[in-house]
Subunit: 349 residues, 3 copies
């Protein structure tokens, strides 16, 4: 594949500075791209790489000072522009064969759309419906009474347990588990008796779920992941949780039972969220924070236990002044004692 | 299915207030249950939902002020009572076919009880014994020389590696791994040489293990999970760990090598426990804490590194007073300086 | 199997004290080993077990005071010495059958070395090359266009996705996922559009990867795990990360996108590393720390957000003095007020 910078820009709709006739054969990152490659600058961390890059062309934003002697495309959103450029050079994905692989184990009581793809050694249980364009990759398990919509992509070694309801355009990465039992016991004299977990998991359209994610079924009712939510790897979502539309849940987060995460909220990496809480919409919980109480919409919380971000920042910063503060207070104690003694002497004389 | 409130109460053994003849067709949570449904109040978080619930009946404890105009069952333990009610409405689990699915790969040198169920595309290695009533779900792997007792439920895509010994009534959820190698190397000049991990994992009766859990085999000897322990999702248990009876290990905890967790202890979510420690029985490590030393029985530790709970609470709370404290000390410094100067003047005159 | 202590020492090359003719039949840990077993002392935690051990022989270092009336091997490195002793007693691993199991699903367009072992119900995609001595265990998935070198051990239920390049002597434990998509979206008006993840994962020689690990493919270019790196269980490695040679990444760590971890660095358990950072070689990030900025070689950082270890230790320790410090400052305030009033009176008179 080979395109001139002008041909690429026709697709992108930016403004060329430099040689539009230069030939580009592939894409690369700002740190690595060389001759024949196009790259882009979106993250300010890499601004120092602009002048040293040997890439044949760079996509930059109009507010960036253009480097000298480089071929550029100036574009309002270099990330989106680069994504479009990348599509030019990406090989078309291998077409997926429709139908059921002969090594798959598919229950005769399931309904598989003829345009779905059930691949080698996949399992589909009775009463399960799978829509057109959906791919169940090798070695994945879809239990009994599930629904998968259209154009879903289920990677290998995924487990989707009985009763799960999954919408359209959902992507689930390998080793993730949808519908394991919620963690619920009644304890009498140290012995824990299992509380039946009879609910289901509902995953709406356009959700993406990373690898090694656990999403537990509800005790009754539903654990719900709403439209457009994106979940990273190794995330724990407990029973009866609701995640509203368009939330981002970053790697290794854990959300405890029955909590509701408001629309378009962001839970950063390794954050932990307590049970039975409400997180208002458009909130942010920073990385490694531990949220123990419900919070208002548009909140930003940080720390463990989490506090409002500004308060936490101020308190954390002041901790590092503490060793010096202790010295100051010791010195003050000494001086005050001297003043008291002097005053005593004064009074006595 | 349909029961009157009286019929339900016959099973529960509580005291009805209101209309015992009302018909109930299903169960629901306090926040969602409506007409025709029975619900319960156990968690005080939801007490505000009592008066607004449109559920046809509610199970509450005798110390809760009963809402007006509701049909109630008063019961000492609403959780247990509701669990019994729920069982009335739950469909009986699909009977599991005994025997070995023809697509499973079972070594002829294994011993499978005729009343066990080895399902589609499961693997069982040589020398492994599997007891009556135990289900090995599709796509699970049981290695060589393992023992699984009676009535175990092994979910799909589980991996149980060579030599693992598993008791009766054990539940293991999907994508969990029993018997991966412990993380042990001898390092000379930056190069890490693997220490052979030749021990096994022993899991006693009545243990439940969540999804995506890793339990490493011992270097030699055994990693042991004792009777009645309940482990949540995404937990890490390193080599040579011992978890005594009836412990609760909540999601995303990590326990380092050779540590012993005392009976009926609770490790809350995302807690990390150092290696070679002893945690006394009935101890609690709070969420996200990091324990770096051994602790006495009945301890409650918090923070990272963890300290006794009360001490940690007091210290954490005082941190948020620190920005004001710093201002106070600065003001004191100024005043003391003024007093010193005044005293100097006094002396000079 | 049975060896005299002298026969064992011939293999180890230490110095015997006590009865070299005593017969040893197996190995055990310092806390558990009894008659007929050999054990060792490497971790000072267990020095108290030396005198009470009933093991028939103990390997100790020359700087340890030898216990009375015990049969000993004195050796500079008891861990290595014990490892050699253990090998005497370990059963030889079951020989792995070469070739492709008839229940495996192997694409005819793949190249499998005749001395490789593709086991029951494993999947290998088109264009993939697998080297001599490499074992692909039951139920593992190797996608399209991958390369696996020689003598790799891929445990059951592993997923290696399209294009992954894996060197020689690599071990990957169960339920781990190599090459899931990086977590990358472009967000406009709360809606997240997936950024294609077209790069690959490269894993060099002698790497070991624990169970339930997620390693994401690069957006373009490569996510690289270099030679000799050892990764524990449940670790998250995001897209475009580079881990240099001989690093140790302990359980439940998370490394965010595009970060570079310098050679022979150690990331302790549950540590979180931000994105686009550079960690200098031979650095240490302590357990549960959260690193938010790049650090110099040979740094040791701790806390969340992480600070230099000494500074963090001092600050953390001082926090527990804070409740008392607050009392001291309150008392000082009172005294200073009294001094001021006295001074005022003085002046007035």
């Amino acid at each position: 594949v080979k395109f001139t910078l002008e041909q690429i820009n026709e697709r992108i709709g930016g403004k060329i500075e430099g040689d539009g006739a230069i030939e580009i054969t592939s894409v690369g990152s700002i740190t690595d791209a060389g001759v024949g490659q196009i790259t882009f600058l979106a993250n300010p961390c890499y601004i120092r790489n602009l002048s040293t890059s040997t890439a044949s062309a760079i996509i930059i934003a109009p507010d960036i000072k253009p480097p000298k002697d480089k071929n550029l495309i100036i574009h309002e959103n270099p990330s989106i522009a680069f994504m479009k450029a990348m599509e030019l050079f990406c090989p078309a994905p291998r077409p997926v064969p429709h139908g059921i692989d002969k090594s798959a184990s598919v229950d005769p009581g399931s309904e598989i759309d003829p345009a779905a793809s059930i691949q080698a050694m996949a399992y589909v249980g009775p009463g399960t419906k799978i829509g057109a364009g959906t791919v169940v990759s090798p070695l994945s398990y879809i239990g009994e009474g599930c629904t998968l919509g259209q154009n879903c992509l289920i990677y290998p070694n995924v487990t989707i347990l009985d009763g799960s309801q999954i919408g359209d355009n959902v992507i689930i990465h390998s080793s993730s588990v949808i519908g394991s039992d919620g963690y619920g016991y009644i304890t009498v004299d140290d012995r824990h008796t299992k509380i039946p977990q009879n609910g289901i998991v509902v995953i709406e359209d356009d959700v993406e779920i990373g690898s090694n994610v656990s999403i537990d079924r509800a005790r009754f009712d539903k654990t719900i992941i709403k439209q457009g939510v994106k979940i990273d790897n190794l995330v724990q979502i407990a029973h009866n949780v609701t995640i509203e539309k368009n939330c981002l849940v970053v790697a290794q987060c854990g959300i405890s039972g029955s909590t509701e995460v408001g629309e378009a909220s962001i839970l950063a990496g390794q954050a932990g969220i307590g049970g039975h809480l409400k997180i208002g919409h458009h909130s942010v919980i920073t990385a490694q924070s531990g949220l123990g109480k419900s919070i208002e919409p548009k909140s930003m919380f940080s720390g463990s236990p989490a506090r409002p971000f500004q308060q936490e920042q101020r308190a954390k910063a002041s901790v590092y002044k503490l060793p010096d503060l202790i010295k100051t207070v010791r010195a003050l104690e000494k001086k005050v004692k001297e003043l008291e003694e002097a005053a005593q002497v004064n009074q006595d004389t």
